[in-house]
Symmetry: C2
Subunit: 139 residues, 2 copies
DNA sequence: ATTGACCTTCCAGCAAGTGGAACCCCTATC
DNA sequence: GATAGGGGTTCCACTTGCTGGAAGGTCAAT
């Protein structure tokens, strides 16, 4: 199969598939004309990668998951560990974003959004008087 | 003030401050010896940037917010618009992550995490039979 | 004179691709 | 045979927001 067909089937852009070959995630054969020639197993791998990336796994995680996927002697504990690590990172990210969201929503709510210059958002971002005092006064 | 002091005060790494100068966010003076010389207004800007970045605003957003911050003729509507856009992006990101989290938590939960190879996580990532059928059979 | 802590510039690299240029290949049509 | 189109190929640059390191200049103290 040529790259265009694989792109259609896997939903991954051809550019991304070439990139994945570049970094060694897939190793398609080559036809006599130099075109990449994808076997079913390559297509399976790409579908796997697409799913894993959609779940937010990093490329390095994907590489390791793929290795386990193809290793008959893997243990589910190895797979679970990667997934749990990733889950932890997602939770942390969600926590960060939720905190940002709260602050920001509060500020947006407080802002009149009219044609006057006074703005609680800028007021919050600007250094406070106390902080300036630290800068302006020696000691 | 030298960059080290400003780094201490603002909490931003010196490298980051140099980078912010590079991309035109601050324009410190230079001392005779070539060292950057930061005025109070530069330090204020950097503190502003630090806060804005901590709220997740992009550098381009920061650039615009800074411009508004320094513009006496700004309107709070302009500021609010940037913040609302950003809030929207955060909400979208939270939604994505929450969906990932749900799927992933479900899979992790279903995985025994023992020394056997069977793993619902890999099973979920692997292409399904139906999908393979599309590939294996001429359509 | 020399240490050590500063500061300077520039160059490379991270994740995970994306866009574009310049070029080759294959088929179909005129 | 020429040409148009729609594939494919490589390589290089760019994205975001820094971070690390090398090679070297400056300054205060010993």
């Amino acid at each position: 199969m040529n790259i265009g067909d694989v792109a259609q089937l896997s939903g991954l852009p051809a550019k991304t598939i070439r990139y994945y070959e570049d970094i060694g995630l897939v190793k398609p054969l080559r036809s006599a004309n130099g075109y990449r020639s994808f076997r079913d197993c390559d297509v399976h791998k790409l579908a796997f990668l697409g799913r894993a990336r959609a779940l937010g796994f990093s490329i390095e995680d994907c590489r390791n998951l793929l290795k386990l996927y193809e290793d008959d002697h893997r243990t589910s504990a190895e797979v679970k560990q990667i997934a749990e690590m990733h889950l932890g990172r997602i939770d942390q990210k969600i926590t960060e974003l939720t905190e940002m969201r709260a602050t920001l929503a509060h500020l947006v709510n407080a802002c009149a959004g009219d044609n006057r210059p006074d703005c609680p958002i800028l007021a919050d971002l600007a250094p406070k008087q106390d902080e300036n005092a630290l800068l302006d006064q020696p000691g």
